[in-house]
Amino acid sequence: MSEIKVDSLTGKTSAGDITVTSEGGAATMQLQQGLAKAWATADDNTTIMDSLNIASITDHSTGVSTLTFTNVMNNNLYSITVAGGYGGGTNDMGIISWNDETHLVTTGSTTYFISALNNGSTGSNYDPARGCYHWLGDLA
């Protein structure tokens, strides 16, 4: 087995572009583009349990929170995938979404989330017992 011991990886031709070969060998892709730039698990919109590149969480009100990056994104066009914990009742379906584009954010420094719960016929805000968040995109 070969091993590389380094503290950082930087592209030679272009600093932000390191190419890796696909599993099947038919394609190549940019390493940096495929790496998650931030992720977090949070309890009740109040506590970060574990994370990468997340400085803080702010609980604004029931179901409304802001997560702030340590290192900011390059723009507000990043991709977010989220999962919210089960609400606990029959037909409950918890989802986490983000607020409008202004909260997705011009500086790339925060994402403003809103969590909703289907409690049978109408939706209402809720604080997920466990919220999971992943960000992909370009860091500044």
């Binding site: 892709m29 495929g34 607020n99 909703a116």
Partner: protein, 127 residues
């Protein structure tokens, strides 16, 4: 290509070591940030060649480089108390619908919400 290193493991001086299989297998092979309002469009993406607006709340993304199989792992996100979910996927494309928790499981209007955005991430093996 400027240079090539073949290695099975990388090690940081303080943060630990990692098999490079996690780098290759653990990297997202596709992701996209899309505007769903009106005619759907892609804002920013990796490994995406086009988006097709199939109708209300119904989108199909086509990959530039195909996955090795159809059953790759996907994650979805949506703006404003809605949810995006996968309806069908092949190695080279994926079809999504939007819904929200206070409605039945049907595709919802993708207009009327300025800048309404949805996102997708795909993990698995490329061909």
């Amino acid at each position: 290509m400027a240079g090539k290193i073949i290695a099975d493991q990388i090690e940081h001086s303080t943060a630990g070591s990692l098999d490079t299989s996690y780098v290759v297998n653990g990297s997202a092979k596709a992701w996209a940030s899309m505007t769903g309002a009106g005619t759907a469009s892609v804002n920013q993406s990796l490994n995406n060649s086009s988006i097709t607006d199939n109708g209300t709340g119904d989108y199909t993304l086509t990959n530039t480089n195909a996955f090795n199989y159809a059953d790759y792992a996907t994650g979805c996100g949506s703006q404003w108390r809605r949810s995006l979910y996968t309806a069908a996927q092949t190695s080279s494309s994926i079809n999504f619908y939007t819904t929200q928790p206070d409605a039945s499981e049907t595709a919802l209007a993708d207009s009327g919400s300025t800048g309404f955005s949805v996102t997708f991430t795909g993990f698995g093996d490329l061909a």
